[in-house]
């Protein structure tokens, strides 16, 4: 896969190069199995997955802070059926979306997942995440070089005797 892929916006490539320079130190031990991953445009965001706070994770991923936006719609339950499998999804009306990430503030690792949205892919993702306890779920959208977020509190209870 050609690494000078011009479909990614210039600011994003610059950010990635900057992060890359910093992160390369920690990436030495992440194995890549050649073939399937020659297609991967970016290295695994090791630092972002080590971040202890939302702000740090977002900074590590995107190099800037997120501003709240009501154009990012996060769909998550009021009370999670079970903290091990919480279905959450996001959709946004923001244009030029390049990345969507999910964070859970009370998880031991705040960053749960980060998705790359190439041009031509809809700015909408559904996935199932783990939540250690009642917490804010934060979805972050990188669009047009800026970073936006929306937050929702999801309650997680310890399961009882079963239904």
């Amino acid at each position: 896969m050609d690494r000078t892929d011009t479909r990614f916006s210039a600011p994003r490539r610059l950010i990635l190069q900057a992060i890359g320079a910093v992160a390369l130190v920690g990436l030495g031990n992440i194995p890549f199995a050649g073939g399937a991953f020659a297609a991967a445009n970016d290295k695994y965001p090791d630092e972002a997955f080590k971040a202890k706070t939302e702000a740090d994770a977002i900074k590590a991923l995107y190099g800037k802070t997120a501003e709240a936006s009501d154009r990012v719609k996060l769909d998550a339950p009021e009370i999670a059926e079970n903290g091990a499998v919480v279905p959450v999804s996001v959709t946004t009306t923001l244009p030029d979306v390049t990345s969507i990430s999910f964070l859970v503030s009370e998880n031991p690792v705040v960053l749960v997942a980060s998705y790359k949205i190439p041009a031509g892919t809809m700015p909408s993702v559904a996935n199932r995440i783990k939540m250690a306890k009642t917490s804010n779920v934060i979805v972050v959208v990188e669009a047009g070089g800026k970073v936006y977020s929306t937050t929702k509190e999801v309650k997680v209870t310890v399961g009882g005797c079963g239904g």
Binding site: N107, A113, A126
Partner: protein
């Protein structure tokens, strides 16, 4: 061995909706077993979806993604009968890949 990846990719002419369910423990490394010992981290780190020679979607995952992970997204283009290639690599270096036909 059968693939761990199950895909449902459907095209409505305009866009292709993709759902994937992957068989993987996604151990976060924070959970203890019955003996009280930590179950080591074992989770998919990167997942890619390739159509027509380019990635249409890619995921960077941590141990906070649920066991037997699921993801859904959609991209413009794709038509019935076309191939969609899905690959993943986990923190232990294990990989799996499968090619599914868009329905």
């Amino acid at each position: 061995m059968a693939s761990t990846i199950r895909v449902r990719a459907t095209s409505n002419g305009d866009t292709t909706e993709v759902q994937a369910l992957i068989q993987h423990p996604m151990d976060s490394g924070f959970v203890k077993d019955a003996k009280g010992e930590i179950i080591p981290p074992h989770f998919i780190q990167q997942l890619t979806f390739e159509y027509d020679g380019r990635n249409v979607f890619a995921a960077d995952w941590g141990g906070g993604v649920s066991k037997d992970p699921y993801v859904k997204f959609a991209f413009k283009g794709g038509k019935k009968g076309d191939d969609l290639k899905i690959s993943w690599i986990d923190n232990k270096g294990a990989t799996d890949t499968t090619t599914a036909k868009i329905q």
